[in-house]
Structures are given as C-alpha cells and as structure tokens.
C-alpha cells in the first residue's frame, strides 16, 4: 500500500474556547491514511480521539477552532465551505456512529434512511435505490433484507441496527469509512460479529477504515496500524503487531497490561494506570502523561517529548526511547 495517502493530516489542532480557558482537544496531529488501510485510534475518554475523527469530516461543534490541514485526495477540508463538505460527507468519507439506538431516526423506515445517501449524492432513487439498499443489507449479513427494508428501527435488535448504520455509511462506496466506537454500545458476542463484518467489508470494498475505540482488544482484532492518543496528542504509532510486542510509551504499556490475558493465569488484580487524565484546559508544560507516569523524570515535566521514530513504522513521543522496563521503579 504505497500509493498516495487518501487522507493526510498535517499539524492538526482542534480547540474549544470556554470560560475556564481554551481546551486543546487535538494537538499537532500528523497522520497519513493509505488507501485500503485499517487504522485503529486508541485512547481513553477525553483523549481527543473522537474530535480527531470529527475533524476529518469538519463535523466538530460550532465552537470548535480547527488549525492545520486535513487533505482528502489533495483537497483541503479545513476551512472548506459547508457545501463542499456536504459533497464529501457520506459520498467519499462516511461515518459510523457509536450508538445504533440513537443513530437512526425512529420515524423513518430502514429503507428510507438507507437510501438517503444515494438520493443526495448520486440521484439514484426508486426501485434502483431499493435494489442497491437490499443488496447492501445482504452484504452486511442481514437476513430477509427485503422485509427489513420496510421496517422501522425499533423493530430491529441493536446488532442489526449497527449493521444498518454500517450499510448506510457504505452505500455510496466511500473511500474512507470512519467508525466511532462502533461496538461500544453492543454486547460482546454482537461486538465480535460487527468486528468480523468490518474486517470482511474492508477486504471487499477497498475503503480505508479508521476505527476509534478505547478498547485495545478491538483494535488488535482488526487494525493494521494503531495510533495511541493521550490528552489530544498522538503518543505512539505503530503496526499492530509491533505495538503489542514492544510498546515504547509507558501509557501504551499501561493500557496493554490492563487488558487481561486469557491464556495466562489471571493476576490477583488487573494492573491499572493510576491517576486521572489531565484537564485539557490546563495542560502541564511537559509531557501530559508525566504526572501519572512511573518513569517520569525532570525533563518530562518541563518539555514536550517529540514524536520520534523508534523503529521501522514505529513512532513514540517519550524521552525514554529505550525499551520499557529497563528503568526500574
């Protein structure tokens, strides 16, 4: 996958001004998304991962200030007009939302909502749109698609609704599919099915996918490459195998260790990362993770560690660039 990236983010910053100061929710993000790539973005609540995703579509709230550049196939999206954005949204870059229970309009049939994108972007309507929608419902493995087409959201289960939402996003054959915690609202078995579906769709559609989640387990199952975010910054970025084999950032390592390994004997208590994520309106001058970091040194508290290459396809923003664990606590 060496062709030109579909999506290029350069020095992207997203901030919100509030009474208690300016909250910089996304800071200095540089990211390339190759065609057909499956990228996972991991971080805890408030790490800026959803805001980063929304910035790729210009969907941040009215109070948001975007700086830097988001280019889709060379076209600049930051500062682009609503009309230009509307032409891209849904057609070229589509989004799957977190909660399938609220992402569908309760008063419209599945069919009406599914074909909405087709009507707007391609002018396809009527029987032709219906055929395409039913085809797509089959693609996302919904049984009896013709019947479901005429039904309303409340008549479908959560897993089915999420499949519908995914079908809705895919109907215009977008180049990029953004998924914001698509499995968080679902129970574990359904979650596995949806992940399997995403994996399958990715090989079928050639669309690049960006999956945002707080769950490392989810990422490990589907992604090629993982970006770890903390306090609005990318702190580590690597291929998924690399990240699991040798995480370089103490935060990533902490995340990884807080996932139970089902093959090994369970520890008494799962390790967790102490402390809380920082307030984005008053970030410390140095590394944002320093107050919670067991390796933190004096430099960490005063200077921002740059995101630097630490291996092939592996970048990390930490002054402790050596393998972790060498510094004893």
């Amino acid at each position: 996958m060496s062709d030109a990236p579909v999506l290029e983010l350069r020095d992207l910053n997203v901030s919100y001004r509030s009474d208690s100061g300016t909250a910089r929710v996304v800071q200095d993000v540089n990211l390339d998304l190759a065609a057909g790539e499956f990228l996972g973005i991991v971080g805890e609540s408030g790490s800026g991962k959803t805001q980063l995703l929304l910035a790729m579509l210009g969907l941040n709230g009215p109070g948001a200030r975007l700086e830097g550049s988001v280019r889709f196939r060379g076209q600049e999206l930051v500062g682009a007009g609503e009309q230009a954005l509307a032409r891209i949204r849904g057609a070229r870059i589509a989004m799957v939302f977190q909660d399938p229970m609220t992402a569908l309009n309760p008063y419209l049939t599945i069919g009406t909502q599914l074909t909405e994108g087709l009507r707007h972007h391609k002018g396809v309507r009527g029987a032709q749109a219906r055929r395409r929608a039913i085809e797509l419902l089959e693609t996302v493995h919904i049984a009896e698609p013709a019947r479901r087409f005429a039904q309303y959201p409340h008549e479908l289960s959560g897993g089915m609704r999420q499949r519908v939402v995914i079908a809705m996003a895919l109907i215009c054959e977008p180049d990029v599919l953004l998924a914001d915690e698509p499995t968080t609202a679902l129970d574990v078995t359904v979650q596995a099915q949806i992940l399997a579906l995403l994996r399958e769709l990715r090989s079928r559609t050639r669309a690049a996918m960006v999956l945002v989640t707080h769950d490392l387990g989810v990422v490990s199952e589907v992604a090629d490459r993982v970006v770890v975010m903390y306090a609005g910054r990318i702190i580590e970025q690597a291929r998924v195998e690399t990240l699991f084999a040798q995480a370089r950032h103490p935060y990533t390592e902490g995340l990884r260790r807080s996932v139970a390994d089902l093959d090994a004997p369970l520890p008494e208590r799962l390790p967790s990362i102490g402390g809380n994520p920082p307030n984005l309106a008053s970030l410390p001058p140095g590394c944002a993770f320093a107050p919670r970091c067991q390796y933190a040194a004096q430099t960490c508290r005063t200077r921002q560690p740059p995101l630097a290459l630490v291996g092939a396809d592996h970048a990390c923003a930490c002054f402790h660039s050596g393998p972790l664990g060498r510094i004893a606590t």
């Binding site: 954005l85 849904g90 989004m95 939302f97 909405e116 707007h120 005429a150």
Partner: protein
C-alpha cells in the same frame, strides 16, 4: 385484530403504534365521537331545518323549548337550535383555522430559531418575549377600532398570540433533537439543512405539534367566546357560541335556556378537545404512563 396479525410482517411505524394506543384510550375515543356528532349536526341541521339563523319571526318570540322549536327561540323569534348549530360552525371554524395558522407560524419560527441557534435564536426568541408582553385585550380593541369589526380580525388577533407557546415548545424540542445522533448522522451523510429539518426533525416533532394543536383549539374557542362576550367577536346576525352565551346571559332570570343551551355546547366542545388532546398525548408520547 387477532394477536397473530398484530405482529405484522411489514414494518409498523411509530404512527401506527400511536394509533393503536389511541384506540385503547376510551376518553379520547368518546371525545372524538362527540366532536364528530357535533360537527355533523352543525353541518346538517342548518341545511335541514326550516328556520333561518338570521330572519326574525315576530310571532314566535321567547318560545320555550318545544315541538316546533326544540331549543326554543330568542328575543327576535329566531330558532335557537339553528343559531346554536351556526355558533358551533363558527366556533369550530375559528378554533381549527386559528390553531392551524398559529401552529404553522409557531413551528416554522421555533424550528428555525432552534436549528439556527446562536444570535439568530436569541433574536427570534426575544421577539417572542416582546409579543408575550403586549397587553392583548387592549390590542384587540385598538385593532377593532382601526379596522372595524371583521371576522378575519378575530383570526388575526387570536393567531397573533397563540403561536407564541408553540414556538417556544418547538424550539426547546428542536434544541434537544438537534444534538441527537441521527441528526448528526444525517449531517455526516451530507444531507442539506432544509432537507434535514423536513425529513428528520419535523416527523419527530409532529407528535408534540399535534398534541399542542388539539390543546390550542379549545383555548382559541374560549378566547373567541370571550371576545364575542365583550362584543368584539362576530357580526350581529351571525352567531358564535360566545355571542350566544353573551346574549343568553341577558335573559338569565326570565329565559334561562337561552344561556344554558349554548353554554352546554361550548363546554362539551371544549371538554372533548381537552380529552382528545390528553388521549393523543398518551398515545404519541407514551413515556408518561397514562393515569
């Protein structure tokens, strides 16, 4: 409907579910029946009756209710049954038409303000606040003086105030719906704003709108009655329930039926609309358990 067919193979919309709940609401059904009967009577009786609502009959002044005149006659010998039915026509017409006008204005105003947000929203809602502050009865009196007593004026006057509540409610609801994920999802699909309002917002507001429309109708009817009672309503030979009550009140001690008959119709109509509105609220907004 048997339980077998109740789980229909094709989709049942929110509307169909609401209709089912409405069918189980006895009060609303009875109210709907009563209103239906009154509408039919109001339409048919003046057509079928040998009497005219406007032509005086000097040989039949103050006839008590009897075989010739079922509800009696008034001071000019006009048949009260026909006049009350005309009154129902006028009151219902004023009620429904003014409510539709006020709902349309209120919904357009409220959704626009709510959806636009920010300065536009503030400006539009302050305008509503100002209208709220206008003393209404003096305004109507001034309007009557300026334009003369006109049937249309009653509409305009009533419409001018009754949309304010709806605009506020619709705006509030729009604000909360605006941030729901399916609106966000529609935006992420590149759906333009007007389409978003019509397709995604209004259907979700419709239940609320219908409830308030049915609850606005009795208010408007009462208001029209009030204006007529003050002598600001419909023209003399024509009668609304309000003007009939007003006329009847003059004869309370001598011929009480002139007051009681239109008063009963007025009360029944208003109660029926209130019950209907109540039933619709339970049917369309079932979060609150019906009592």
């Amino acid at each position: 409907m048997t339980p077998g067919t109740a789980t229909a193979p094709t989709g049942r919309s929110q509307w169909q579910l609401s209709l089912q709940r409405l069918r189980r609401h006895r009060g609303a059904l009875a109210a709907l029946g009563v209103l239906g009967v009154i509408v039919v009577l109001a339409l048919l009786v003046p057509l079928l009756s040998p009497y005219d609502y406007a032509v005086p009959d000097w040989d039949a002044i103050y006839q008590p209710p009897g075989a010739a005149h079922w509800f009696g006659t008034d001071s000019l010998g006009r048949d009260l049954l026909v006049r009350v039915m005309w009154g129902c026509r006028i009151s219902l017409l004023v009620g429904v038409a003014a409510s539709i006008v006020s709902v349309v204005i209120g919904v357009v105003w409220g959704t626009t303000a709510g959806f636009a947000g920010g300065a536009v929203d503030s400006l539009m809602m302050r305008f509503v606040d100002i209208l709220y502050a206008v003393p209404f009865i003096p305004l109507v009196i001034v309007l009557t003086v300026l334009f003369g007593r006109d049937f249309l004026l009653v509409f305009v006057a009533i419409g001018a105030v009754s949309w304010l509540d709806i605009a506020r409610i619709v705006r509030g609801q729009t604000l909360s719906l605006k941030n729901r994920e399916f609106i966000e999802a529609a935006r992420a699909l590149g759906v333009p704003t007007p389409t978003m309002i019509v397709r995604h917002l209004v259907p979700n507001l419709l239940g609320l709108i219908i409830i308030y429309a049915t609850l606005t109708i009795p208010t408007v009817i009462l208001f029209e009655a009030f204006l007529s009672f003050l002598g600001l309503g419909v023209h003399a030979p024509l009668a609304s329930l309000g003007s009939l009550v007003s006329d009847g009140a003059l004869h309370l001690s001598s011929n009480a039926y002139l007051l009681t008959v239109p008063a009963i119709f007025l009360t029944v109509i208003i109660c029926a609309f209130s019950y209907l509105g109540d039933g619709l609220r339970d049917a369309l907004d079932p979060r609150e358990e019906p009592r």
